[in-house]
């Protein structure tokens, strides 16, 4: 089955861990993840600047590793990211900020990517809504 994943919660929220484990289990079960779309506070999951305590789960690092290894399509909503201070190098330059904090394997793009993924997938699975 083809899944599109939408995540709305920040990395320290249980929903982010659940989403991560769901994606890992789906892939292990032979399913396809057509896209990860991070929206609202979930954009922080793609930040390269999250520092977790050594004995705690590093959810952003796990996402990064998973997307790299499985070559997933990891999209972060650009509007949601900018208003929360998540910028790649290009956006940091555009808005004259001192540094970016989002890089490969993540792409900044628009909400059209969420709709496209939802249309392509058999199921849209959302994590971290109210």
């Amino acid at each position: 089955m083809k899944f599109a994943i939408a995540l709305f919660a920040p990395p320290h929220a249980p929903s982010s861990r659940r989403a991560l484990r769901f994606v890992q289990a789906a892939l292990a079960g032979g399913h396809q993840i057509v896209r990860l779309f991070f929206y609202q506070d979930a954009v922080h999951n793609a930040s390269s600047n999250v520092v977790s305590a050594q004995d705690e789960l590093d959810i952003p690092a796990e996402w990064r590793e998973l997307v790299r290894q499985q070559q997933l399509d990891g999209v972060v909503c650009i509007a949601a990211a900018l208003r929360r201070g998540i910028l790649n190098e290009q956006e940091a330059q555009r808005y004259q900020r001192s540094a970016g904090n989002l890089d490969a394997p993540w792409d900044l793009s628009g909400l059209g990517q969420l709709h496209e993924a939802a249309q392509t997938a058999d199921r849209l699975i959302c994590f971290g809504g109210p």
């Binding site: 939408a6 949601a80 909400l111 969420l114 709709h115 939802a118 959302c126 809504g129």
Partner: protein, 119 residues
Amino acid sequence: MSKSLLIINRQSPWSGPSAREALDIALAGGAFDLPLGMLFLDDGVFQLAPAQQPSALQQKDLGANLQALPLFGVESLYASARSLQERGLEQQTLTLAAEVLEDAALIALIDRYDQVITL
């Protein structure tokens, strides 16, 4: 055929970016001509309350953007009768022409859509 999407809008308008971000999903989908609906549920019905003064909070007028929904092809707008009643809101005062549905009709509504996003 395109899959239909129901956006369930549950947050009050001035409690954070959720209301605007739910609306943005609808407007983006409308631009792609997708079959979309929006349901205002729980505190989300406050987005339809009359006489709001966002300028007092230095906020942009969300209501003006909600008015744009039909222009973007999002004409299936619903509000929960129970949520309105619990918050003392009257259907005739709402700023958007939303169909007011009882709980049983909400179940049928959600069932009609292929996909649901709740914000």
